[in-house]
Symmetry: C2
Subunit: 223 residues, 2 copies
C-alpha cells in the first residue's frame, strides 16, 4: 500500500514534468507566431511583448531543471525513467534557446518596422509556421515516446533548410538590385536564419527522442 | 575496505568523465583554429579536415552521454556529483554544437577559397582566438569548479559580440561599395556569426558552471 502510494506520487511528478515541458513548448510556439505576425502586420508592441516573454521562458527552464534534479536525487530512477528525465534536461535547453531566437527575431522586427517594408512576406511566414509545427511535434513525440513522429520532424527539417536557402537567394537579388535595400535585406536574412535555427532545435529534440525510444543513437546518422 | 574500493572506482569514473570532456573541448578548439587558418591561408584541404572532424566530435558526444547515464543509473549520485553529471550532460551538447559551427564555418571557407579574397582578415582571426579561449576557459572552470573563471568567460562574451557587430558593419560597407563583393561579404558575415555562436555556447557553459558552484541560478540575470 505504502509502495503504491509512493509510486503514484512518482508518476504524478513525471506527469507534472511532462506537462511543464508542454507548457513551455506552447509558450515558444506562440512567441514564434507572434514575432512573425509583428513583422507582417508591422506591429511593434507585439514584437516588444515577444521580447519580454523570453524572461518567462527562462524562468520555466530554471524550474524544470530543478524539478529534474529533484527527481534524480530523490527517486533514483532507472532505465526508461532515467532516460526520460535526462532527456528532459537536454530538451529544456533547446526550448530556452528557441525562446532566445524568438526574442532576437522580434528585435530585428522592431528595427524593420521603423523602415518602409521591403516586400510582401510570403515565404517567411510559411517557414515560421513549419518551424513552429516542428517544435510542437518534437515535444509531442517526446511526451508520447512516438519515434515515428520524431522521424517526421527530422525529415521536415530539410524543407525549412530549403526555404531558408531560397529566401537567402531572393534577398541577395534585392541587395544586388538596390543598394538602399541592403540593410533591410540583411535583417531579413537574420530572421530567416533564426527560423532555421528554431527548426534545428526541434530536430535536435526529435533526434534525442528517437534515441530514447529506440535506445539507439541515430543522432548524426540522419543525412 | 569494500566501500573504499567502490568509492575509488567511482572517483576514477568521474575523473574519466572530466577527462573526456576536456579531450572533446581540446578537439573543438583545434577545429576553430584550423577553420580560420584555412580561411586566412586559403587552405581548402584543411577546411575539409575540419568538416570531417565533426563526426569525431559527434562520436565523443554519444560516448559521454552514455557514460553519464551509466553513472546516474549505477552510482545514484547525490548533491554535488549529481549536479556535476547532469551539467556534463548539458555541456556535451554545447560542445557538439560548437563542432557543428566549426563544420559550417569550414564549408563557407571552402566556398570562399574558390573566389578572390575580399580583404585581409584581421578581426575574424582575433574573434576566433577569443572564442576559442572562452571555450577552453569555460571547460577549465567546469572541471575545476572555478566560478571566478566562469564569470570572466561571461564577461568576455561582450567583447566577441562587439567584434561581431564591428565586422558586420564593415562588411555592409563593402556590400554598398561593390555589388560584386556581396556574395563573399555575406559568407563572411556567416563566419563571423558562427564565431559569435561559438562564444555563446561557451557562455552557456560558463553560466551553468556558476550555477553548479554557487547553487544559485545566475543564468538569465547577467546582462
Amino acid at each position: 500500500m505504502e509502495r503504491e502510494h509512493i509510486s503514484a506520487a512518482y508518476d504524478a511528478e513525471l506527469s507534472d514534468l511532462r506537462q511543464r515541458l508542454l507548457t513551455m513548448g506552447g509558450l515558444v510556439e506562440v512567441m514564434i507566431a507572434d514575432a512573425i505576425r509583428a513583422l507582417v502586420d508591422r506591429d511593434t508592441p507585439l514584437a516588444e511583448q515577444v521580447i519580454a516573454q523570453d524572461h518567462q521562458v527562462n524562468g520555466q527552464e530554471v524550474a524544470i531543471d530543478e524539478k529534474c534534479l529533484e527527481l534524480l536525487a530523490l527517486r533514483q530512477p532507472a532505465a526508461r525513467d532515467l532516460r526520460f528525465i535526462t532527456l528532459a534536461l537536454k530538451i529544456v535547453t533547446d526550448l530556452e534557446r528557441i525562446g532566445d531566437q524568438c526574442a532576437n527575431l522580434a528585435k530585428r522586427v522592431r528595427e524593420l518596422n521603423t523602415e518602409p517594408p521591403l516586400k510582401p512576406y510570403i515565404d517567411i511566414p510559411r517557414m515560421a509556421q513549419r518551424a513552429s509545427m516542428m517544435v510542437k511535434e518534437s515535444l509531442d513525440a517526446f511526451v508520447r515516446g512516438d519515434d515515428q513522429l520524431a522521424v517526421k520532424v527530422c525529415q521536415d527539417d530539410q524543407l525549412v533548410d530549403d526555404l531558408n536557402e531560397q529566401i537567402q537567394r531572393e534577398l541577395y537579388t534585392y541587395m544586388l538590385g538596390e543598394p538602399a535595400a541592403i540593410s533591410r535585406a540583411v535583417k531579413l536574412t537574420y530572421i530567416s536564419k533564426s527560423l532555421e535555427r528554431i527548426a534545428d532545435h526541434a530536430t535536435n529534440i526529435a533526434e534525442m527522442v528517437i534515441f530514447m525510444v529506440k535506445g539507439k543513437d541515430i543522432r548524426h546518422t540522419i543525412a
